[in-house]
Amino acid sequence: MPDALGTPNSRLESLTLVPHATGLAAKDFKSDQEVRWCPGCGDYAILAAFQAFLPTLEVPRENIVVVSGIGCSSRLPYYVNSYGMHSIHGRAPAIATGLAASRPDLSVWVITGDGDALSIGGNHLIHALRRNVNIKILLFNNRIYGLTKGQYSPTSEQGKVTKSTPFGSLDYPFNPVSLALGAEASFVARSVDSDRKHLQSVLTAAADHQGAAFIEIFQNCPIFNDDAFAPIKEPSAPGLIRLIHGQPVRFGPNGSLGLVQGPYGSLQAVEADAVPEPELIVHDVTRDDPSYAFALSRLDSSDFSHTPIGVFRSVPRQSYDSLMAAQLEQAQAGGDGDLATLLAGNDTWHVG
């Protein structure tokens, strides 16, 4: 597999059944629809990064399908000049599953948000991940309901004061990366709307993954939850932990901090100079046991003092659609079924 921040030098593994096309540019993926997000919305940056990334797949436009649910982020398919479906609230993973399972020649992308994927569509998300259908899920997490004008979401911090929670929200939030790992996801990553280079590298790694890929993208909502991710928006933000496969995890001022094993499978931040080098954690996305990736995801804190971004986990597992195709192929090895034989069955009789 390619380095999480590198680019593969051959055709992406998950796209071997998808036709090849070269010479496309970002402008080819811009539709004629006027983009209608609020000024300053993080979705603009993600859309631009996505449109610029798509040509690197070297897939014809007609073999790319973008499926979304409902919410601000879910308007994205209208702006991408490929096939697309803007579906219903929370259901995009289900729809994309049927499409990807029956059409291995397509590159299928799901665009969703924190309310869409984690609240009304939570069940579809976890099952799509566990099945490992060859779909790439981009969850735009702005920690708020934007399209319905500012209610708290399942990723809002506890105590969030919104129109629907004037005395503060009561429920505890999801950590989307932890959730995806718990749902047996084979690829889990996180990126940030404002870091185009990082986002595109994560998209590339996701596209290269055979099976379901889950990417949480921190996305700013300037209207209802502005600066929710401000503490990590600076490239040198001290809490930002950039995960790079095969490299020691280093962060903080001048990269002075590292990670070591803590009690009960947890990870702890330490002054890197204060511990022997072999004890410092070297990032490995390929660990089959998700405990390490889960421990990384638990470094998150509400004050963003430790926030890992990059690929948490990327392990090979046969995708649902390829397994389904293999069963069909095996069943049809002796030729297509004969309808008359099927209808007659084993017990027939003649009259007259």
Binding site: Q33, I88, R91, T97, G98, R103, H124, A340, L343, W349
Partner: protein, 618 residues
């Protein structure tokens, strides 16, 4: 001893026992023997939702009723001529349905003090004279079976388990059924367990020989083969026929079949059946819930598959949001509702036809969906093909209504000539060609076929037809998002006009002399009961016409004319008058409803009574 043979023109047998007794298997095998023998037949399984309720209790009783005859019949029979009761619970639950003077076969071994107490018999009904109104054959089925198997190396439990085969052997002798099919079946089923195979064959033969030698049965019966239409037949249940219809439709439309489904009674057997036939390229997907089941199907439809989702009422309501999206995106999709008794969980294993208004109107907004209904178990095959025809030709979701009675009931099916099935393939090039691209090369996903008003089915992978669809209102032609008031009005009316304009055959009326004053109009699984009732009334001298609706939306074009032609219209339904409401609303005809909602099919006698009562007040 030579036994007297009595010829009968029809017989109704009901096998009843514990759900674990294997009575369903006994019934199905007897049915198969009867089918091969050449009688016409109709069956009605009746079982609890619990898989294994406590043994010997009333809730644990399941039964299987079979009606067979030397002429063509339409129903599983109102009341049994023979009741086989494997224990006191089965007797207690079923004896009220057995007319006096009829035959009752009881397994005396199970009439123990404990078993009698479980169902509240203070004394043994076999001995206390309370069954004197019936012709009782008291047979120790269990101990006779165990005795027949005593020289075989079997546990007592395994030996007792073979008692259903002993009963089948006895009944097969009693009605002169051919045994070869059952022996072949046992070989297929137990061939790999020789001791179990041998035990079942021995028990079957012992039952047969018992009938021949015992004095408990002095008469055996003969029901001659029916004069059915010539051809090759098989016995088939509604769920199997429906699954085959879908496979056939995929072949006829030259489209890959995709099923998204979630397990639910009584629809699961369609999923089970389709999952077996991957050699036809069938993809089956067991989803995490009903919503994902229909969602995956819609995704597959977008990708160019003949997409289907199957469920029953409680699942159908969960799917309706996605059906609405299919209406808005105008994609072909088949939604199968195998109706069961509701509301809510209701009675999962019992039949009902109370989802008609749900099918027509159970969505937000103006959301028209064609609805077709199957009339008999084998007719589920044709209904599935018809649903596929409408879905693909008009690019619309179609709801196909079956029900619990059709799903599990069975009847002989004259096998169709595959070559004569309708060709559903169309110029899907209409979807993929460039005919809808404007001069400037712009594709118009909502430009319509002027005849059908269908929009192009432009599937991903087709160069030049890239487009976005969704649940937001679309501008006519371009499909771009539109909040324009006049455009919305146009689109609402156009979607309705498309469904209203679907070509469906005229309603055929069976009115032999053309002089009936009463029309009995039904839909769905009541076809057999209504037909049998109409025959009865005609034999009694009444003039009655019958018609049955396959298409519930749109209705046949001649329906209004047909309704107005008759002085009175009787509409029997296993609901509280849902079709009647539609007919009154649309045609302003004051139809008379007849409704019973007991979780069971209508009995022919009760419908005949209703017919005669309406005519008596004419």
């Amino acid at each position: 001893m030579t036994k007297q043979v009595q010829e009968l023109d029809h017989v109704v047998i009901r096998f009843a026992g514990d759900s674990g007794d294997g009575m369903l298997l006994t019934g199905v095998r007897f049915t198969q023997e009867t089918a091969v023998f050449g009688n016409d037949l109709s069956t009605l399984p009746n079982f609890p939702a619990e898989i294994r309720a406590p043994a010997g209790t009333l809730p644990g009783v399941s039964s299987f009723q079979l009606h067979f005859a030397d002429h063509d019949i339409l129903t599983p029979g109102d009341a049994p001529d023979v009741l086989v009761a494997m224990n006191p619970a089965a007797l207690k639950a079923n004896i009220k349905d057995l007319p006096r003077g009829k035959d009752l076969i009881v397994n005396t071994d199970e009439f123990t003090k404990r078993n009698l107490q479980k169902v509240g018999y203070a004394t043994n009904p076999i001995e206390d004279g309370s069954l004197s109104a019936w012709h009782v054959h008291a047979v120790p089925l269990t101990s006779l079976t165990v005795k027949a198997l005593e020289d075989q190396d079997l546990s007592r439990k395994d030996a007792e388990r073979a008692k259903n085969m002993f009963s089948l052997g006895l009944l097969s002798w009693l009605y002169g059924r051919p045994a070869e099919g059952t022996l072949n079946f046992l070989e297929q089923k137990f061939g790999k367990k020789p001791e179990i195979y041998k035990a079942n064959v021995t028990a079957f033969n012992a039952g047969w020989n018992f009938g021949e030698t015992t004095e408990a049965f002095s008469v055996r019966y003969e029901v001659k083969p029916a004069a059915l239409k010539p051809g090759r037949y098989r016995n088939i249940t509604g769920n199997t026929a429906l699954a085959y219809g879908l496979i056939a439709a995929g072949k006829l439309a030259k489209l890959p079949l995709f099923l998204g489904s979630y397990p639910i009674t009584p629809a699961s057997d369609v999923l089970h059946e389709l999952a077996r036939h991957k050699q036809f390229g069938v993809r089956t997907f067991q989803a995490e819930d009903e919503i994902s089941a229909v969602g995956s199907a819609l995704g597959a439809a977008f990708g160019g598959a003949l997409a289907v989702t199957t469920s029953s009422g409680p699942g159908i309501i969960l799917k309706m949001e996605t059906v609405g999206l299919a209406v808005a995106t105008e994609l072909p999709l088949i939604i199968v509702d195998v109706q069961r008794a509701g509301p809510s969980t209701g009675m999962p294993t019992k039949t009902e036809q109370a989802d008609l208004l749900l099918a027509l109107y159970g969505r937000n907004g103006e959301s028209p969906v064609p609805v077709v209904a199957a009339a008999s178990p084998s007719d589920c095959f044709n209904a599935a093909i018809e649903a596929a025809r409408i879905a693909t030709a008009y690019r619309t979701p179609v709801i196909l209504l079956s029900d619990g009675y059709l799903a599990n009931g069975s009847e002989p099916w004259l096998l169709p000539d595959v070559a004569s099935l309708p060709d559903l393939s169309q110029d899907f090039a209409f979807a993929t060609s460039q005919t809808h691209v404007n001069g400037d090369g712009e594709f118009r996903p909502f430009k319509r076929d002027p005849q059908t008003l269908a929009r192009p089915w432009a599937i991903p992978g087709t160069k030049g037809l890239e487009h976005r669809i969704g649940g937001i209102e679309k501008a006519d032609g371009t499909g771009a998002i539109s909040y324009d008031p006049d455009n919305h009005d146009l689109m609402v009316r156009t979607r309705q006009a498309k469904i209203d304009g679907i070509t469906v055959p005229d309603l055929a009326v069976d009115d032999p002399a053309g002089d009936a004053s009463l029309l009995v109009l039904g839909w769905g699984s009541t076809y057999g009961s209504i037909g049998a009732a109409v025959r009865r009334s005609r034999r009694a001298g009444y003039k009655v016409a019958q018609a049955h609706l396959r298409h519930l939306n749109p209705f046949p074009a001649n329906l209004g004319e047909v309704l107005r032609h008759y002085d009175k219209v009787l509409v029997p339904e296993i609901n509280l008058g849902q079709l009647a409401l539609l007919l009154r609303g649309k045609y302003l005809v004051d139809v008379i409803s007849y409704n019973r909602v007991r979780g069971l099919p209508f009995q022919a006698a009760e419908l005949a009574g209703a017919i005669e009562e309406v005519l008596a007040h004419a």
